[in-house]
């Protein structure tokens, strides 16, 4: 997470300013019929505000989430799991990617594995020197996930959520080195 965070910060300074919302194409909804598992989360500012009212300041976990979403305008997640490969096409993802290939957005991470067929891309949008949006495109032969977060987001706060609410714990580089060192001994 530290490496991604570092790249985030570097891009804040370099990326051009701009504001553009990602529109998830209707074609994605058609994939739902073929998928064995679908996650469709659409949370606009109003819903985020409503959820925020039910996050307690007294509960440490809730407080972290509340702080994180304070600057957000929306969270949109589409995730599809399929029984077999080839159920979705690159053309299903392309309209989303095309929106991210604009000056407002910068691709900070691109991962491609020929062996496993996994591809992942992380994009950020910068606004006034802050991260104003985050998008993730993650594809596997039998899985497609698109995440779009609009609004001011702090990667530190995001990584802090690891280990809470069933969210996998995010290991930063120092922890990783320590655990690796421990294993080597």
């Amino acid at each position: 997470m530290l490496a991604i965070k570092t790249v985030f910060i570097a891009w804040i300074a370099l990326a051009p300013l701009g504001a553009q919302e990602i529109k998830l194409p209707a074609s994605l909804d058609r994939l739902a019929a073929k998928a064995s598992e679908v996650v469709d989360v659409t949370m606009d500012a109003n819903l985020l505000q409503l959820a925020s009212r039910f996050l307690s300041d007294k509960d440490a976990d809730d407080a972290k989430v509340k702080k994180l979403i304070a600057g957000l305008k929306g969270i949109y997640v589409r995730s599809f799991e399929f029984e077999k490969p080839g159920e979705y096409q690159e053309s299903d993802v392309e309209p989303v990617r095309a929106q991210l290939h604009t000056p407002a957005w910068s691709r900070i991470v691109g991962v491609r594995s020929l062996k496993s067929g996994e591809n992942a891309e992380v994009y950020i949008k910068t606004e006034n020197g802050k991260i104003g949006g985050l998008a993730i495109l993650a594809t596997q032969p039998k899985e497609l996930t698109i995440v779009s977060i609009e609004g001011t987001i702090d990667p530190d706060q995001l990584s802090e959520l690891g280990g809470h609410f069933g969210i996998p714990k995010v290991e930063d580089d120092s922890q990783h080195k320590n655990s690796k060192g421990g294993k080597d001994e």
Partner: protein, 99 residues
């Protein structure tokens, strides 16, 4: 003497009530009852309105709480997927860097 007896008889004789008295008494009773009923009707109506408002407010609160809890659950799911994906990407980057 006869005149005196006649006057006495007249004075003691049963006289019919003026017809308007009875009507006036019943009218007065009816008016009193009507006022009382009107008062109770308004009170009952006000109580019903208050009860309905309280019920409506409670129902709204229950619905809002359910919607809020659902929104919170969806938010947690969205964040879980986001962090999980970022974590996996991070892991892949790290593995490929180490290799």
């Amino acid at each position: 003497m006869e005149d005196f007896e006649r006057q006495l008889r007249d004075a003691l004789a049963r006289k019919e009530q003026p017809p308007s008295l009875e009507a006036r008494v019943f009218a007065a009773i009816a008016a009193g009852e009507s006022k009382s009923w009107t008062f109770w009707r308004w009170e009952a109506l006000a109580a019903s309105v208050l009860a309905l408002a309280a019920l409506g407010a409670h129902e709204h609160m229950v619905r809002e709480r359910a919607a809020g809890q659902a929104a919170k659950a969806r938010l947690q799911l969205a964040l879980k997927i986001t962090v999980a994906k970022l974590s996996k990407i991070q892991q892949t980057v790290r593995t490929s860097t180490e290799e």
